[in-house]
Amino acid sequence: MSLNFSSPFFLFGLLGISIPILIHLLTRRQQKHVRFSAVYLLFQSQKRSIKKSKPNRLLLLFLRCLGIALFSLALANPFFSLGSSEAFRNNSPSSYVFIFDDSFSMRSQVKEKNLFDLATQFLSKLLKQVPEGSEFSLVLASRPARIDQGWISQKGSFEKLVQNMRPSFQTTDIGHSLEKAANLLKTAKFKSKKLILLTDLDKNGWDKGIFSEIDPLPPIPLQVFNFSTLSLKQNQVAVESVQTHQEFLARSRILKIKTKIKNLSKENQRFPVSLILDNKSEKEVLLDIQAGQTISRDFSIQLRKGDPVHGQIKAGDDVLPVDSRRFFSHHPDQNIKVLVVDGDPGAVSHQSESFYLERALNPFSVSVSHIDPTISTLAELPLRKLSDFSVVILANVREFPIDYELELEDFVLRGGALIFGMGDQIDAKYYNEKLGNLLPVTLEAIQNIDKTHLLFKNIKHPVMQAFSAKAIEEMKDIPFKAIYTIQARNKKKFNVANWFTNKNPAVIETGMGKGKIVVFLSSLDRAWNDFPIQPTFLPWIQRWTQYAARGLENISYQNLLVGETYQQNNDEGRWVVQTPGGNLYQATTQDGKTTLTETLDPGIYSVFKIPEDYLQETITKLPLGSQPAGTFTVNVDTKESSPQKISEEDIKAFLPDLKVSIKNPNLIDSPLPSSEGKELATPLLLLVAGILLLEGWTVRRE
């Protein structure tokens, strides 16, 4: 049990008690002795006077002394505790860990400032009250939680650091930040440790999973300052996703921008949603969204040939504008690079698969089909770099070089597309043994039949939907003389895109990683059918190629969340990424990948390839001759947008060992919280007020 003072200097005020005593002694008149006749009358009068008014100078003196003493004590800010005194003494140097929530929800506007500004302002005020000689550290609570500043004793430097902090665009991660803080406290210099969390108590930041993963926290008091109480309004709307979609199969020039808008408020509202292209509002609609609901809305725009489209969707106008807009980027008509591997090159060119495929994929020029085929023999295959291609067509390939199947697997996993064509060279045994990961089926045998046809019944596959009825009729008439029969592998999923009329699958497809595998169970030359010489073969193979390549396209135009790493499968040359703010970062290349981790601001990032003759190490300006190599977008994670706050009970449930107290920050006067102990200043001041009243009343009676 102990009593401590945070400002013991004010205890000198107790000397002020001497003032009323002095005044009392000075004003006390010398007592005279008078012999008097009617003393009994004096007694009577005195008795009556007590009832009416009896000023008591000693009582007044006592009240005044008590008032001054209590006022001095109140100024000294005493703390009473039943525990040990050292643990909470406010005036002794302590080790302070400040956990600062710098997630984007702290960007909520409050008049002309935002919560983050108010929190830094508040922290600066807190620091002014920290006893000299204390040490500080700062943990940032946005994902990933990190120690921004280890233990430091220089208050001035720490204050500067606090003032220079900027809010991030990331989500909150209180669990890991508490873990980091607990680790810091293990190395704290002082016995008195203080853990102070400044946050808006966004529910998203308190992940039950994370709290169950992290090490148990030591039983230290945690003081939480809830800044959400300062917000005047709630976050209203968030743009949850934006996806671009070009109807490539129909050769359409229309770009569909599909967006999802969520009403985060508790009321049905109408939000203006606008499509902004190159900083100009292109289209605007009003959307009625019910409380808590998400609705989708498509915008369609006409694409200009070859030009990339950069823009954003903006919804409403609320206190948190960060999540009310979402960036997108679209590169239309990218050429698809296709590697055609001919497993059975014939002496006569038209007897080779590659002959038909090359002409079908690129009949005139690149600009028409946007497919750029490269023909390769099996022998040349190891020399080819798979990452240069989006699609690899393996036509009648008997077997691959040793362990090449692993490269193929990696290629598909990263988003590449494989299209298999059958033929008499295929070694079914080799395929079944080595390509078990790639093929969802086992090849059984070649089935020679008199005549079979492609079956078009209830065709819903996107590739086939683009064909006209006339074209379908034409395709139905194509005779097939030989096909491969297949057997499904255990636990492998695949989709049959087309059947033959003899009830054998004609085209199967399956997904693997980010890529796609398509198997055509007949030959891609004229050995087993006449399809390659039909006019419908050209669009058929083109569209399957485009369809299969989509997985890779999606990867090349990455839509990342803030903080996610940008990756591209090309490590040749030097790459530079320009951020939305105009900063340049050199991408690092490692293990065949080029990566960039500085995706901290939402917006559209441009990737450039630096000319090879540019030798300077650091790049401050985009060098001449840099080639634009695409863009990617970075957007905020709208999980953080939810205005839901965690309750005090939930926090205590998450942190059962910690003594948690939640306070609302008072920006005008922010006394440094004591981690333990009962503050006595307020009751003392109330007592002083009461004594002053009593004193005034007594004096008035006199």
Partner: protein, 302 residues
């Protein structure tokens, strides 16, 4: 021997002489022969006629008037002197109050002058006057005499009294009432500063015995106004314990209390047909005495 030495104590003698001079000054300046009795009696000086009633002396019937009116009238004559007056003087401690603010005489000195003055007045008119001095009991008793030399006894009785003890007016009065003859006069001089509430009863007793009673209440202005300032310890002149207080705090209440007491005494006296005179020691004694004589005169028909 002791008494003889006391008698010739120069201080006592000086005091007697000063009392005598002041009494003579006091009385000679006033109207002489005005001190009349309320009691009617036979005398040479005709006063009025009265219808005859059985029991009246026949020798007082005015036969001339009976002859004229055929009705019997009895002559009445003014009775003068042969008045017996006893002066009761309070010599309790409270009477010794000397004001710390001035060097004037004490209440007792003032009262002594009054006694001397009255005695001289009575003796000059050949009335008998006696003196009884008391505090809680009778200290000294000088029986009434009408000899001119009796003044000397009275003055001597006044001069060697030590003023002390508590006031017990009622006890003394009860004792005296038995001894005093009817139709005599009793003058009671006191400050009446006593806790006793039985004074009314005693006055009633005196009044019922046909005594003519005159009360002189002698008070110092300090006792009326409590003019003291600052924290003061009041020590009693009698047996009350000390009290320390700031007089300013209770002044109003005190004044009210003492005034109440005075009013009560005055009302009681008036109700019993007793003369009551409040003597403030700041008032010149001559002025007080002449006021009294005038008042007495107005009571008696010429």
């Amino acid at each position: 021997m002791e008494k003889a030495s006391e008698n010739y104590d120069p201080q006592v003698l000086a005091r007697i002489s000063s009392l005598k001079i002041s009494a003579m000054n006091l009385v000679d300046g006033l109207l002489t022969g005005q001190h009349r009795s309320r009691h009617k009696g036979s005398s040479v000086e005709f006063a009025e006629y009265k219808d005859y009633s059985p029991g009246d002396e026949i020798r007082h019937i005015d036969w001339k008037v009976a002859g004229k009116t055929d009705k019997y009238h009895v002559k009445q004559f003014e009775q003068s002197t042969n008045l017996k007056c006893t002066i009761l003087l309070d010599a309790s401690g409270s009477m010794a109050y000397p004001s710390p603010n001035d060097n004037k005489e004490s209440k007792f000195d003032y009262a002594c002058n009054l006694v001397a003055g009255l005695s001289y007045l009575f003796l000059k008119q050949f009335d008998a006057v006696g003196l009884t001095i008391f505090n809680d009991q009778v200290i000294q008793h000088i029986p009434p005499r009408s000899k001119a030399s009796h003044l000397q006894h009275i003055l001597h009785g006044l001069s060697n009294i030590s003023v002390e003890g508590i006031t017990r007016v009622d006890d003394v009065l009860a004792g005296l009432a038995e001894r005093l003859q009817g139709r005599s006069m009793l003058i009671l001089i006191s400050d009446f500063l006593t806790r006793d509430q039985n004074i009314q009863k005693s006055l009633k007793l005196l009044s019922s015995r046909g005594l003519e009673v005159i009360l002189f209440q002698v008070l110092h202005p300090d006792e009326l106004n409590l003019p003291f300032e600052g924290d003061t310890v009041f020590e009693s002149l009698e047996d009350d314990p000390m009290v320390g207080l700031d007089p300013a705090d209770i002044r109003e209440e005190y004044q009210k209390t003492i005034q109440d007491q005075i009013d009560q005494l005055r009302n009681t006296s008036n109700g019993l047909g007793i003369d009551y005179i409040l003597m403030d020691t700041s008032t010149p004694l001559q002025q007080a005495l002449s006021y009294y004589l005038l008042k007495r005169k107005s009571l008696i028909k010429p």
